[in-house]
């Protein structure tokens, strides 16, 4: 490999340097019909799963075809997306916040042709490249984190659990027959860089073994006070021990106080947590971010632990399907999953979903815990 210079001169890093320019202005990228009608849209309609119509006050119409995608995407795949956008959409496209791709065209006929084209494209392994759907009262794409693909703290994989889940709920991605939208999110550790704490269904990687302490290296790679301060429960204290005949500065962990958040490992690489048997998945449900009808709410833990079962996590997908099916059968129109659980009562939720309730599900973390206990005689037998 011969180094190819971009023009950057490492001897003079400031020479001609451009900084602090931010992103390009979005108006450079808007399809012409959107630029023309910006701020003057009248209404929209979902014509069929994955196909939206937006009508402007001017009478202009734009048809959007939405398709799913793995957020982990190669440039070969992106170039194929570009080829499609060049062929049908005058070289314009967008991505949604939930990793879907949207192609916009000027007529229903073009939208239908595009939809057929997208649904027909497959990877060599047989899966869809661009399945159309993800609109209305259905399951849309899962937002997720990096997992074992590219992160140092995960308790599970993200891309794999998402692929396994979406395969199981795929029909709901292509349909709009649920009581309300169901947003599934995935975060591979408690850090939740893909915040899943307000999702209808959340897949969350968790650790269950306290950190292992690398006494030999800790003082060289960590600031002891930062490691101590990192612990939300005060389980870590500085200490000196004899290690292989030498006095070393290190830390001690009061294991029964550990809540397995991994914050110490974030601050100190000599305190790894991950473990094949310790790590796995918790399932949370009933959160939402929309203010529609009811207030935004947090997801609640309903399954404390499911072991990691790569590559397809069958126990996890079974639980998700059980919850989704029970909700679909029982909830009222417009009722989000959490609103349904609140209406029928959580005792009914566990019964209808066929889930076991255990002590792990009763909050015992600080003040907010009290507000989740039941202070009424209203309950169901």
């Amino acid at each position: 490999m011969a180094f190819i210079s971009s023009g950057y001169n490492p001897e003079k890093p400031m020479e001609g340097r451009i900084t602090d320019i931010g992103p390009r202005h979005f108006t450079e990228f808007l399809p012409p019909v959107l630029a023309k009608n910006k701020g003057a849209w009248d209404y929209h309609e979902i014509l069929e799963p994955g196909v939206l119509l937006h009508v402007a006050l001017s009478g202009d119409k734009v048809y959007t075809v939405r398709c799913g995608g793995a957020r982990l995407m190669s440039i070969t795949h992106i170039r194929e997306i570009c080829d499609i956008a060049d062929k049908y959409c005058g070289g314009h496209l967008r991505f949604t916040t939930r990793n879907n791709i949207e192609f916009m065209v000027g007529s229903l006929d073009e939208a239908k042709a595009l939809k057929a084209d997208l649904n027909g494209r497959k990877f060599s392994g047989g899966s869809h490249k661009f399945p159309v759907g993800g609109t209305g009262a259905g399951v849309t794409n899962i937002v997720h984190t990096q997992g074992w693909v590219h992160c140092h703290t995960p308790a599970t994989d993200a891309s794999g659990t998402v692929k396994a889940t979406m395969d199981v709920v795929f029909e709901e991605f292509q349909n709009m027959r649920l009581p309300a939208p169901v947003r599934i999110s995935m975060a591979c550790c408690l850090n939740m860089c893909g915040a899943v704490h307000a999702s209808d269904i959340a897949i969350l990687g968790i650790h269950r073994k306290p950190p292992i302490i690398d006494h030999e290296n800790l003082d060289n790679v960590c600031e002891v006070p930062l490691a101590v301060a990192a612990c939300p429960t005060g389980a870590i204290r500085p200490t000196k021990i004899e290690y292989q005949g030498k006095q070393v500065n290190t830390v001690a962990v009061k294991q029964e106080r550990c809540m397995f958040c991994g914050n110490c490992y974030t601050m100190c690489p000599a305190m790894p947590l991950s473990d094949k048997d310790g790590d796995g998945i918790a399932i949370m449900v009933g959160g939402k971010i929309s203010n529609r009808i009811t207030k935004p709410s947090f997801s609640k833990v309903v399954v404390p632990f499911i072991p990691n079962e790569p590559p397809r996590w069958p126990s996890m997908t079974k639980v998700i399907k059980q919850i989704l099916d029970a909700y679909s059968a029982d909830a009222h129109k417009y009722e989000r999953l959490g609103d349904w659980a609140n209406r029928i009562g959580w005792e009914r939720f566990f019964e209808k979903c066929g889930l076991e309730f255990t002590a792990h599900l009763i909050d015992d973390f600080r003040d907010p815990a009290y507000y989740t206990w039941r202070q009424t005689t209203q309950f169901k037998f």
Binding site: M1, T19, E28, H54, L72, H150, F170, N175, A198
Partner: protein, 437 residues
């Protein structure tokens, strides 16, 4: 030719949902074939090695990526995340595999020319693998080596007129919904406000000076498509303060079954004939509507603008005309002190260029947080520690019942000396003159 056997990952190639494994394999093949005869600046087989190390994790049930590493571009304290493999001998192609975050345009609209240019840079100088997009909204380029960081940054800024995004204890790349560009619910230009504040605060974005990360997110309405209320330290949510506009004829058309309710979002199941009483009036959270004699009446003074009625009948009901946004503070995921939603701080503010009032508010809040916040404390946690009333005080906002769900449950009020007649300095002799010991 397959470099590593991946029997577990291969099982993720079947099934309908797009397979990331198939896609990585496709990139691996592309780089092996190298149709453009490129002199790849990072190992050509890095996608193969990524599959290899991932397969190893599927066997081991543990990650094989090392903890961080300080790498970046000159003068910036964010935008690059160092990443090293803990099995570099087995997988040399991904031994050094850093992430670069690229600032995305508001609403994530692109031209293919832009994306192709980015792909060309990333094919030559990186792994060819990306996230479209990362959780905060950036374009994420996964996997390159340290010597390529400045080269990529140079090409991004000089040839694409585009910057890196944020990481670390700084302003993270702001994100917004698609707003006015294709949504009739947008109550302000979320894309423009996002862009303008991103430009205004480039220094805060690139050079960490905060106690911890800080996120802005901009939602055009209270449906919150970018999850600002749950995921941003400062959340801007569009709303209005006048009246929902009602077209009675079109309401009648919904009632008569001529138009599908909820914009067709429920068309996959037979939910029966549209019942405006049951589906709209009875579900209104403030019970401010009625439908009588073929006429929809809304008591707008009592409306809490939840958007439900508008969503059910988007052709008949429209957002008000006197628009702006609400600003909420302090949302975050559970680490460390439990999850928080944003707390309503400014119920209504107009969103008009040059946004001076909004900027003044932001800067007051930041000044306070930078002074009072502890290391790695999100502003929501600072709020919990020091009290919401303190925030109102530093931001110069008059307390209002809209700031609370309900008043406090305890009488432990931290009165200040100034609040009390005569102050707090008292003489025991004076007290004893009235009370024996």
């Amino acid at each position: 030719m397959v470099k590593h056997k991946t029997p577990l990952l291969d099982q993720l190639e079947s099934g309908p949902w797009p397979s990331f494994v198939s896609d990585i394999k496709q990139e691996a093949e592309h780089r092996q074939a190298n149709p453009k005869k490129l002199d790849y600046q990072v190992p050509a087989d890095c996608p193969d090695d990524l599959l290899g190390v991932l397969e190893l994790s599927y066997v081991d049930g543990e990650t094989h990526w090392k903890h961080g590493g300080i790498v970046g571009v000159f003068g910036y304290g964010g935008g690059v995340i160092g990443r090293y493999c803990d099995q570099p001998e087995k997988f040399p192609g991904v031994a050094h595999f850093h992430t670069m975050r690229v600032a995305q345009p508001s609403g994530m609209f692109y031209t293919t020319a832009f994306l192709r240019q980015l792909c060309d840079i990333w094919e030559l100088r990186g792994s060819g693998l990306t996230n479209m997009h990362g959780s905060t909204g950036d374009i994420v380029l996964i996997g390159t080596s340290t010597p390529q960081l400045e080269e990529i940054f140079h090409e991004l800024t000089h040839n694409m007129n585009n910057d890196l995004g944020g990481s670390g204890s700084n302003l993270r790349t702001p994100a917004c919904c698609l707003g006015e560009s294709r949504c009739e619910y947008a109550c302000y230009d979320s894309q423009e406000l996002c862009y303008q504040l991103t430009q205004e605060y480039q220094d805060e974005l690139h050079r960490p000076a905060f106690p911890y990360k800080f996120k802005f997110k901009f939602d055009g309405c209270s449906l919150c498509c970018v999850a600002s209320i749950a995921r941003s330290d400062m959340s801007f949510i569009g709303t209005w303060r006048d009246e929902i506009r009602v077209d009675q004829k079109t309401v009648a058309a919904y009632v008569g079954g001529e138009i599908a309710p909820n914009a067709g979002a429920h068309s996959g199941r037979d939910w029966g004939k549209f019942d405006i009483q049951k589906e709209v009036i009875d579900l209104c959270p403030s019970q401010c509507m009625r439908y009588e004699g073929g006429k929809l009446e809304i008591n707008n003074k009592e409306c809490v603008r939840c958007m439900h009625c508008i969503c059910v009948m988007p052709r008949a009901l429209k957002i008000g005309n006197d628009r702006g946004c609400s600003i909420l503070i302090g949302a975050k995921a559970p680490i460390l002190d439990g999850p928080q939603m944003g707390s309503l701080t400014i119920p209504f503010i107009k969103v008009e260029p040059p946004y001076d009032e909004i900027k003044e508010f932001i800067e007051n809040v930041w000044d306070w947080w930078m002074e009072e916040g502890k290391n790695r404390e999100r502003i929501g946690e600072t709020l919990k520690r020091l009290g919401f009333a303190k925030l109102l005080e530093v931001a110069g906002i008059k307390p209002d019942p809209r700031h609370v769900q309900e008043p406090r449950h305890n009488p432990y009020i931290f009165w200040k000396e100034d609040d009390v007649k005569g102050g707090w300095q008292r003489e025991i002799a004076d007290y004893r003159s009235r009370h024996q010991r």
